[in-house]
């Protein structure tokens, strides 16, 4: 029934051999999408899919997208925390598809936090 074939996977495996070593040095950014019940109900899954779409379009290998539970600010969901290596983490709230794409380009790739969407700068890091 499944259309996913072993050949597809083998092709990717061959292709990745070349780029895989680049990842060894760690990552430049970690993006945590808050996926508690509140986040999911507010649209966190679409934020995560938009983020994954941007990562794949930009062909960056060193940006990690992950999820966590509720951050305690349910009314401001969907939220993400962006952690750029050696920079204070930034929490963004009330996100939309367009906002997360802007944050990806400006902050995650460009390195400049998007202040107008930011809730807080600083607090705990996870790396």
């Amino acid at each position: 029934m499944a259309r996913l074939t072993l050949d597809d996977l083998k092709k990717i495996k061959e292709k990745q051999k070349a780029t895989f070593t680049l990842r060894e040095g760690g990552y430049r950014a970690k993006v945590t999408v808050h996926m508690g019940t509140c986040g999911i109900a507010a649209g966190a899954r679409d934020i995560m899919t938009a983020l994954m779409d941007e990562i794949s379009q930009a062909k960056v290998e060193d940006v990690i997208a992950t999820t966590s539970g509720c951050a305690g600010l349910c009314a401001r969901e969907p939220m993400v925390t962006v952690e750029i290596m050696n920079k204070p983490p930034v929490k963004y709230g009330e996100l939309t598809d367009a906002k997360i794409r802007e944050i990806f380009k400006e902050h995650i790739i460009g390195g400049n936090p998007v202040e107008k969407y930011a809730l807080v700068v600083g607090s705990e890091t996870t790396y």
Binding site: F20, M35, C38, A41, R45, D46, M48, S56
Partner: protein, 183 residues
């Protein structure tokens, strides 16, 4: 929650918090029996008696960031609205299975929704956890097991975006096929 695939994502997040490294999502659509069943089972740390007794109570939660826990109560309500119910099977140290049933053709039954998005979000953000999706509609069956995909991939991480895309397309193709079938 707008659709059932969001409930599945929410419950699976509980499994992740419970330290599971293998999470199975089973969806059974038996049109003849007018049944829609979804089951999320994990090998996480399970619940003790006290936690099990309180799992459906919205004002009980193990977390400290807020005082209410709505995940399971919301799903239980969705199921009850459709002449179904929610069952929890759990054993401390072994894992937990959450089963929700619905009357398939009930007017209030939410659609399954984008289960492929739920799966890729889970797989991409938890590369160390094995996920299994087993979805049947009458006699047609689809199975996705990321542990088998990982075996084939070798050193390539499962959350490589190209791999994620293949997985997403594979689930979408199954859904297209099964949704376009004449019953």
């Amino acid at each position: 929650m707008q659709d059932l695939s969001l409930h599945i994502l929410d419950i699976a997040e509980n499994s992740i918090t419970a330290g599971a490294d293998r999470i199975k999502i089973r969806i059974v659509e038996d049109i003849g029996a007018n049944l829609f069943l979804m089951e999320i089972s994990d090998n996480g740390r399970g619940m003790d008696k006290e936690m099990f007794e309180h799992a459906s109570d919205p004002f009980y939660t193990t977390r400290t960031t807020r005082k209410v826990g709505l995940g399971i109560p919301l799903l239980a309500q969705s199921a009850k609205d459709c002449n179904g119910n929610l069952k929890i099977n759990t054993e401390k140290g072994k894992g937990t299975t959450i089963t929700a049933t619905f009357q398939h053709d009930h007017i209030d039954r939410k659609p399954l929704g984008d289960i492929e998005k739920t799966m890729i979000v889970l797989i991409a953000s938890n590369p160390d956890i094995d996920f299994i999706l087993e979805h049947s509609r009458n006699s047609d069956l689809y199975i996705l097991d990321t542990s088998e995909i990982k075996k084939e991939l070798g050193d390539v991480p499962i959350n490589n975006m190209e791999v994620i895309k293949i997985i997403k397309d594979d689930i979408s193709a199954w859904l297209n096929q099964v949704n376009n079938m004449i019953e």
